[in-house]
């Protein structure tokens, strides 16, 4: 089944066109990466999928639901992690997860089970009752990733999920995303600057620059097509038109 369908998506802020005829499709259970430099249009694309921004033109559907016509239904099946997003500083990690569980689960037992799983996934068992403001950046990010998957979304939208994290924490987060997506069949779309991360995580990627998709495919296919040793080299060749 098609999880995400984006066709000829355009987005303008005043006279400034941020996205120009962007089209891609993601199959259910796939991990899809949007790769590009700053200002390429990655965050805008993810914000449109997350129902935070409206497309200026084009069609965007998530599991067959149009984001303009059915934003409320879309919000029930997605989970969005903004770049640098924080949690409520004065709540404990457990209280934060509990708050979100109450929003998504009607059944108390199901909610509790989801919270327990999220705590285990975050690896914060010993600190979960401490206030979020006492967490390190890595701990906050682990809590955020855990809450994204806690609600069992059909589509997880992750904007730079490992930004600002050290090598060890980045690796933990990547592993968690990969494991959770593959075990539960959750579709993931993420953005990243980190080519290594993309190669490790994504089944397919789209290279985006100045609001246009320049190339799309599996990381190994793109490398092969551009005769590049790694994705970084392939990206440079794509951007330079070679």
């Amino acid at each position: 089944m098609v999880a995400v369908l984006v066709e000829n998506l355009c987005k303008s802020f005043g006279v400034f066109e941020v996205l120009h005829n962007v089209s891609f499709r993601i199959e259910e259970g796939e991990i899809f990466g949007l790769i590009g430099p700053n200002g390429a249009g990655k965050t805008t694309t993810l914000r449109i999928l997350a129902t935070l921004l409206l497309p200026t033109k084009g069609k965007v559907e998530i599991f067959g639901l149009n984001v303009i016509e059915n934003p409320d239904k879309v919000r029930r099946i997605i989970s969005y992690l903004a770049e640098d997003s924080g949690a409520y500083r004065n709540l404990s990690g457990r209280e934060y997860l509990k708050f979100l569980a109450k929003i998504f689960y009607d059944n108390r037992e199901e909610a509790q089970k989801a919270i327990d799983e999220a705590i285990a996934m975050s690896g914060l068992e010993n600190r979960i009752d401490d206030k979020v403001k006492t967490y390190s950046k890595g701990m906050k990010r682990r809590l955020q990733v855990a809450r994204v998957f806690m609600i069992k979304p059909k589509l997880a939208i992750l904007d730079e999920p490992t930004t600002g994290l050290d090598v060890i924490h980045s690796q933990e987060i990547r592993k968690a995303i990969r494991t959770y997506s593959k075990e539960r069949g959750v579709t993931v779309i993420l953005s990243s600057h980190n080519m290594f991360e993309v190669e490790f995580l994504c089944d397919r990627i789209a290279l985006i620059d100045r609001g246009r998709i320049l190339e799309m495919g599996a990381p190994h296919e793109i490398k092969k097509k551009y005769n590049a040793l790694n994705l970084e080299e392939a990206f440079v060749k794509v951007v330079q038109g070679g």
């Binding site: 129902t51 935070l52 409320d72 919000r75 409520y88 708050f99 979100l100 109450k102 929003i103």
Partner: protein, 429 residues
């Protein structure tokens, strides 16, 4: 729906109450007023104590039984009396050891005995201009007033078998005041003091509540922007009205707690320090008309929702708390205008047309206007028409605020506000 709203309110209250910016603000009035009181007491008590031990120079040029009585009376008052001679007078006036010089002229006793008004000259010797000095001088004044009373009573008693109290005040007034048909057993002066207290306090409470509630809502929403939690919140499957309602209710609950704490602290301060000037009067001026209280409660709720919604707008458009606080200064003005006009006794009718129009346009004016009705029992016609008007205005503001929480619109406005601030900063640079 209810479960989601409850979860949102619970989150808001917990996050707010644990925020030092909020809970310190709540606790401060409980500490600061007793502290102010202690400081005032620590300053005044020694001054009053010192006022009991005064050095009085006495120049007795009369040397009669009456002048002796003056000396004795002042000694009984606890003052130290130092008798001086005429040539020492200038030295005493230049000295800092004495607090007063009392000159009893020759003929003082004869004047008293022959029922002629007689003079007693007093020089208050001021060495410092502070509270302690003022207390000392008041103490001397009080003693001399009592001395006059003492002589008056003695003279009346010498006249025959009459009660001095009768001679001094033969008519005993039993005062009552009628307000709008209600008879109150108190003189108008007491009534006016009570009216002043109530007409000052109720608008003060409303004013504080409106400001605090707007500040809390603005801070809470601005923190959501600062921490980027608003972005996550807006992608959750909860309608925007619930998000807004949770913020309005949580801010109101915290503001009510804060205002109660403030009023407890303030009341304590006024009762302890001001000697219960505004509080504790035995007369009750509240009307028995329940409609007035109902109107006041409704108008207060509307005013709070109005200012809280404005607070949410300010917070939502601010990238951080600092920016929100600077915008709040502008919001405070519409709350301040009616508060100050009505707190200090102004009436709507006496205002210039433009100010009257501003006042009537603001939902925050009506609870202040109605607070006066509690005392007098009548409801101004402006308030009767103003209440439905306020409801419409406030609902419109709430609706527009919930529309603002549509992410696309919010991000565009945030971007505009940010661009405007950047242009302004560049212009100043």
């Amino acid at each position: 729906m209810v479960r989601k709203l409850t979860a949102l309110i619970e989150k808001e209250i917990k996050d707010l109450l644990r925020d030092p910016r909020i809970y310190i603000g709540l606790i401060i009035p409980l500490l600061i007023f007793p502290l102010m009181n202690s400081i005032a007491a620590a300053t005044i008590a020694p001054a009053l104590e010192k006022a009991q031990h005064l050095n009085i120079a006495l120049l007795d040029e009369d040397k009669t039984q009456a002048s002796f009585s003056v000396r004795q009376f002042l000694e009984n008052y606890g003052f130290s009396i130092f008798e001086i001679k005429e040539d020492e007078k200038q030295k005493v006036l230049n000295s800092t050891e004495f607090n007063a010089l009392i000159e009893i002229p020759s003929g003082f006793g004869r004047g008293i005995e022959s029922f002629n008004r007689t003079k007693l000259k007093v020089y208050f010797l001021v060495s410092k201009l502070d509270i302690a000095e003022s207390a000392k001088l008041s103490s001397v004044e009080k003693a001399l007033s009592d001395l006059n009373e003492y002589f008056s009573t003695n003279i009346i008693m010498q006249l025959g078998d009459v009660d001095p109290n009768f001679v001094k005040s033969p008519i005993q007034l039993q005062e009552g005041t009628v307000v709008k048909g209600n008879v109150i057993d108190a003189p108008p002066s007491t009534l006016i003091s009570q009216i002043f207290g109530q007409s000052f306090f109720i608008p003060l409470i409303i004013f504080l509540l409106s400001i605090v509630v707007a500040q809390i809502a603005a801070t809470s929403t601005a923190v959501e922007n600062e921490e980027k939690t608003l972005e996550t919140l807006l992608t959750l499957p909860v309608d925007r009205a619930s998000i807004l309602m949770a913020k309005l209710l949580a801010s109101t609950i915290i503001a009510v707690i804060g205002t109660v704490f403030y009023m407890i602290g303030f009341q304590y301060y006024m009762m302890e320090f001001m000697g219960g000037m505004f509080a504790g009067s035995s007369i009750s001026l509240g009307t028995s008309n329940p409609f007035v209280y109902l109107m006041l409660g409704a108008s207060l709720l509307i005013a709070i929702l109005f200012t809280t919604s404005l607070g949410v707008v300010i917070g939502a458009l601010s990238n951080d708390v600092r920016i929100a606080n600077s915008f709040l200064g502008v919001l405070i003005i519409p709350v301040m205008i009616p508060a100050f006009v009505l707190m200090f006794g102004g009436s709507i009718e006496s205002l210039p047309l433009a100010l009257k129009a501003v006042l009537l346009a603001l939902p925050t004016s009506y609870p202040m206007m109605l607070s006066k009705s509690i005392m007098l029992g009548d409801i101004p016609i402006e308030a009767i028409y103003g209440l439905p008007y306020s409801i419409v205005v406030t609902l419109a503001v709430i609706y527009l605020t919930s529309r603002l929480l549509e992410p696309e619109r919010l991000f565009r406005l945030q971007y505009k506000v940010m661009s405007w601030r950047m242009r302004k900063a560049k212009k100043h640079a």
